[in-house]
Symmetry: C2
Subunit: 134 residues, 2 copies
């Protein structure tokens, strides 16, 4: 088998959806906190492995998105996992700056359902987004 085939076989083993994407969960490697959820295409996953930093596919901007390219809040990848159907990726990461969310919070999942009837923001803003995105 030639090198090119070997290099891309693991990418072929991912079950890409009909848009060529796979959902990705980013989890703090140390604390286990789920920090964010995003999508990758084949190129994004390949670049994530090459660079050791999370590279996603932005569905809204329709382009490759190196997480932290503006904010500096890059995600250093410690481990990559795939689920039993091969169609979901889990990244265990080290979050630069301790802030994954564009709102300036540690995690994007800062909203909790209270009493089964009301969403409440329960985690603090660590840094004003105006100071993150200058």
């Amino acid at each position: 088998m030639n090198a090119a085939v070997t290099e891309t076989r693991w990418l072929n083993e991912v079950t890409w959806d009909d848009q060529g994407l796979v959902p990705v969960i980013a989890q703090d490697a140390a604390t286990g906190d789920v920090l964010m959820f995003a999508w990758m295409n084949r190129d994004a996953l390949a670049r994530t492995v090459e660079t050791g930093e999370a590279v996603y596919w932005s569905r809204s901007r329709r382009k490759i998105w190196h997480k932290g390219e503006e904010s500096g809040h890059v995600q250093r990848v410690r481990e990559i996992r795939l689920d039993c159907d091969g169609d979901v990726v889990l990244l265990k990461i080290e979050q630069e700056g301790g802030i994954a969310c564009h709102t300036g919070r540690r995690s994007c999942f800062f909203t909790r359902l209270h009493d089964g009837s009301q969403w409440q923001a329960v985690d603090p803003v660590l840094k004003d987004p105006k100071d993150i995105y200058k």
Copy 2:
């Protein structure tokens, strides 16, 4: 405001995709391990809150799926979170039987990328699926 409106407002605050679904991450409430990933429609999320157990929408079978209905491996929901865009749900759960995956493993994310080139199953099968799904 009448009761019916109050009861469903929190469901309206979820950003459902064009198929009326939202991706859901199920995380072990005690250990922080990510156990599985699935989808919910509005009815599934409402039933999850009503029953206190995870109810998903099976995209392959196109029906409501009360997790554990066959295996007994129900997921008792301790907390429900929503992400910053309102389009991803995080469940913190207590996993009955300690097995979330249909392969008999604790987590569906038992496959790890080794050396950036090879997927390897690294977590043990705790129970033979033949003994789970009789």
